[in-house]
């Protein structure tokens, strides 16, 4: 059965669509809101802001997080900032410009109406979060400070030192904590969603496992909201936190939710390279470093002199050479591919020759150490802590790492997935960033979805169920889902193989990074598509998980997440194979211009590829949503 992909974009001019939509959707009477129960999975920016806002409206909310506290969600690690079209700098910014930049930056693979709404709500986000006490950077007069970020031509990024994500998450978490104290939000910590429950085509609840006691339990509601983040950890080594996973959205996909553009992943150019085979994750160094740092490698691949003794004529400032106009400030995807090419040629630096230099020597000479220190000291300190090298003296070494996933569950304008009653927010959905996300836009989208979009749209679905109780948890659909979850847990424990969960995860990550990472090709993807199922079969019989299901068992938790990654990885490769063009973070070697740059093919691929679960992870069915561009003209990005 083909998916119904009606995005439900309102009629009218782009700047009136959201207002007219809010007027046309059905509302729930204030006195009736408490009769509706909504489950929210995930407590990051999107989940916590949605929980707080929906509870303030009066809905009966239950929040689930697998962390020990909602404040641990990975939104907390975002460094750079949050964009908003406030035009406080009087530099010509506007909602339309932020909208335009986001559609263009996404390489024309996002939905115009959603992006415009995002740009519009960015204004309210700054107001809301400043009022919550988020300690944004200020000017001496007390007004908010802004900076330019990621090559944007206007200064529209609001920031709180290098810890903007932390401060915004704490704001949302605290707003939610207030609702917990008021009894409007019921919080479940260390509780992981292991399945979505669907009855007669509608989402009616979830099945969870208590990570401390192992108890498998059903929870029913009128609607389920997934705000569970992205899936970069399919690569094993990424900038994501260790526990970040795709299981919630993948389980929802298996129950009927279409998965959109899984191959759209973002590789961030400035991360600290892996130091050895035991590396467990990669640490991002903020993109802002490229404002002052110059990227280079020695021209001689066998260079043995320390970096500061290599004379200028023996250095290749390759980004400045390849892209004279933008130089070191080319977008993330362009920079990442250039760095990979240089390292693949054997020109890498460092003990493993797996990085390139990001050098502040010239910036320090020109602006003084004091200025550089004020701008980047916390980053320099973090770098030194990890590598034991002082970046004021020795250039930093950087290499790209998987960072963000633009793909996710397909949602309509109301943020509802193809399963009625199931919503996806933040990085878990696909809608706003197209094929490439701009810097300082992830926080904006998570908060727009949670604070402002879903509270206005969810009522449209709920009104039909007024005075109907949620499906009882002793219903057959819940019992079936519970036994499936229990069987799965038992299957991992009884495999009694010879290899650890992490071993399989690392092997899968290697395949994905090699063939579905920064650059992809048909032969590579086909190879991955034969290797992944083979490794998956091995996993099923040879994984070794000790202990029991009745207590805290961290290997058991990871086994389920890694198994879901095996299936998702296949969807990513199939999607990358289907998309015979290069756009944004997706680069197909077969599709490039004469100059070697990405070749987009708008005639054939200006669409969203939405995959439908068929029961066989190697054979999902493809559905298309055509993208129409009425307000932004399609052009080719050029940074030469």
């Amino acid at each position: 059965m083909a998916l119904q992909l009606d995005a439900g974009i309102p009629e009218g001019p782009i700047d009136e669509k959201w207002d007219s939509h809010k007027f046309s959707v059905k509302l729930v009477n204030p006195a009736n809101k408490r009769k509706f129960k909504i489950i929210i999975v995930g407590s990051g920016l999107a989940g916590a802001s949605a929980a707080a806002s929906l509870a303030e409206l009066g809905y009966d909310i239950e929040v689930f997080t697998f962390h020990d506290s909602p404040r641990r969600a990975h939104s907390i690690a975002a460094q750079g900032g949050i964009n908003a079209a406030k035009n406080y700098k009087n530099d010509g910014d506007s909602v339309f410009r932020l909208f335009y930049d986001t559609v263009k930056g996404g390489d024309y693979r996002s939905r115009e109406a959603n992006v415009y709404r995002l740009a519009h709500e960015s204004l309210n986000i700054i107001d809301q979060t400043a009022a919550q006490g988020v300690p944004y950077a200020r000017e001496y007069g007390g007004a908010l400070d802004n900076r330019s970020f990621g090559g944007a031509q206007v200064s529209r990024t609001f920031y709180a030192r290098g810890q903007t994500g932390q401060q915004l998450l704490l704001g949302a978490y605290q707003a939610m904590a207030r609702q917990v104290a008021l009894g409007n939000v019921k919080l479940h910590i260390r509780t992981e969603m292991l399945d979505l429950v669907v009855k007669e085509g509608r989402a009616v609840g979830i099945v969870t496992r208590d990570l401390i006691t192992g108890a498998v339990k059903s929870h029913s509601a009128h609607a389920v909201v997934l705000a569970t983040g992205g899936y970069s950890n399919v690569f094993f080594l990424s900038t994501n936190a260790m526990a970040t996973n795709a299981s919630a959205i993948w389980r929802a996909h298996r129950k009927g939710a279409g998965f959109a553009n899984p191959c759209f992943t973002q590789i961030h150019p400035t991360c600290i390279p892996a130091s050895d085979e035991f590396q467990s994750k990669l640490t991002l160094m903020s993109e802002s470093l490229r404002n002052d740092g110059r990227i280079w490698v020695p021209t001689n691949p066998d260079e043995r002199r320390p970096a500061n003794e290599v004379p200028p004529e023996d250095r290749d400032y390759f980004l400045e050479r390849m892209y004279p106009t933008f130089g070191n400030l080319v977008p993330r995807d362009v920079a990442s591919r250039a760095v990979k090419r240089i390292v693949d040629q054997g020109n890498g630096v460092g003990p493993l020759k797996n990085g390139v230099y990001l050098d502040f020597e010239d910036a320090i000479a020109r602006q003084g150490r004091q200025t550089i220190q004020e701008r980047y000291d916390n980053l320099f300190e973090m770098y030194q802590r990890i590598t034991d090298e002082d970046p004021y003296v020795v250039p930093m070494r950087i290499y790209p790492a998987p960072h963000y996933t633009m793909g996710g569950l397909w949602v309509d304008y109301n943020l509802m997935t193809t399963v009625p009653g199931l919503y996806a927010l933040g990085e878990a959905n696909f809608s706003d960033h197209g094929a490439n996300r701009l810097g300082a836009s992830a926080l904006m989208q998570g908060l727009a979805d949670g604070y402002f979009v879903v509270p206005s749209t969810i009522g449209d679905y709920l009104t039909a169920f007024l005075n109907q109780s949620p499906v009882a948890t002793d219903d057959a659909v819940f019992k079936e889902a519970e036994s499936a979850v229990t069987e799965r847990v038992d299957r991992f424990l009884s495999a009694r193989g010879t290899r650890t969960v992490d071993w399989f995860h690392k092997e899968l990550g290697k395949i994905m990074l090699e063939h579905c990472g920064m650059s992809r090709s048909e032969p590579g993807l086909l190879k991955a598509l034969s290797e992944i199922p083979a490794l998956y079969e091995e996993f099923k019989t040879d994984v070794k998980v000790l202990g029991t299901g009745g207590s805290l068992n961290q290997s058991l938790e990871r086994a389920g997440r890694v198994e879901d990654f095996f299936e998702l990885a296949q969807a990513m490769c199939l999607d990358a194979l289907h998309r015979e063009e290069s756009c944004g973070g997706h680069f197909r070697e077969e599709y490039r211009t004469d100059g070697g740059e990405a070749l987009r093919r708008d005639d054939e691929f200006a669409h969203v590829a939405v995959w439908e679960w068929t029961g066989d992870p190697s054979k999902p069915e493809l559905n298309l949503e055509q993208l129409d561009f009425e307000n932004v003209a399609l052009t080719t990005r050029s940074y030469k």
């Binding site: 303030e56 020990d68 641990r72 309210n124 006490g133 300690p135 035991f278 961290q554």
Partner: protein
């Protein structure tokens, strides 16, 4: 390099616990402390022994999930560094390292090195917020915040909620955590309307779970974000002011 670990193992809060000794050989000094524990766990699984449970997530010192006592010091020997950012190069080849969970009555043990820190969430729920429902905020620049106030508020807000301050305190007090959260909000103009109720109610919940502060200052030394104990003084000052204000009001009522 090679190290000998003495790790606290305990299968549950009601089970007896004890130290187990493990030799971890052939590790790299470039790896982080948690990556060294990963290696230990991989080897334990191969030997058929259940891995050591420990909390961790972001591994870049910001989520606050990790934290163990290393040779009796919360987060180990390096100042201003969370356990996940501590690297093995800080230890000598051949060293014996003792690894224990946070030890505090306010943080009941869950398993091995994992403890329950939900008491921190209870303190926040008691008033660690500014009441501003979604949609009701004025334009962000209507309320100017002096840069100095914003900067000091940020210093307090940098708290990652790891619990090292409690673990390091001889009294198991949570004053640095609570003070950081109270000060962050009390220093800002937006935080003024609820300043006094916030202070009293958060301190009240803190005292339900944790010991009393006697100014040892261990918390500041253990804090991975190096949050100053000056904030404890600010909290105490606000607490006293609030009590006096309330007393005066009660006197007027009667």
């Amino acid at each position: 390099m090679n190290v000998t670990l003495q790790v606290w193992r305990q299968t549950g809060p009601d089970q007896p616990g004890g130290f187990h000794t493990y030799q971890v050989s052939d590790i790299s000094e470039e790896m982080s402390f948690l990556e060294m524990l990963d290696v230990l766990n991989e080897r334990l699984v191969h030997q058929g022994e259940e891995p050591v449970a420990f909390d961790h997530d972001c591994r870049e010192g910001i989520c606050g999930a990790c934290g163990v006592m290393i040779d009796g010091q919360a987060h180990g020997p390096q100042l201003g560094t969370a356990t996940c950012q501590l690297h093995m190069r800080r230890f000598n080849d051949g060293a014996t390292i003792t690894v224990e969970p946070w030890r505090a009555a306010g943080f009941p043990l869950v398993r091995d090195l994992v403890v329950d820190r939900s008491s921190f969430d209870r303190i926040i729920e008691a008033g660690g917020f500014i009441t501003v429902e979604t949609g009701s905020a004025p334009d962000a620049n209507i309320v100017p915040v002096p840069k100095e106030a914003a900067d000091i508020a940020f210093d307090a807000a940098a708290c990652i909620g790891c619990g090292a301050c409690v673990a390091a305190c001889p009294n198991g007090a949570a004053n640095l955590f609570t003070a950081a959260k109270i000060s962050h909000l009390n220093l800002l103009p937006q935080g003024q309307p609820e300043r006094w109720t916030r202070t009293e109610s958060m301190v009240g919940v803190m005292e339900e779970y944790f010991g009393s502060c006697t100014n040892h200052g261990e918390c500041e030394k253990a804090c991975p974000k190096q949050i100053s104990i000056d904030f404890i003084a600010m909290m105490n000052a606000d607490y006293v002011k609030s009590k006096i204000k309330n007393r005066r009001l009660i006197a007027q009522d009667t």
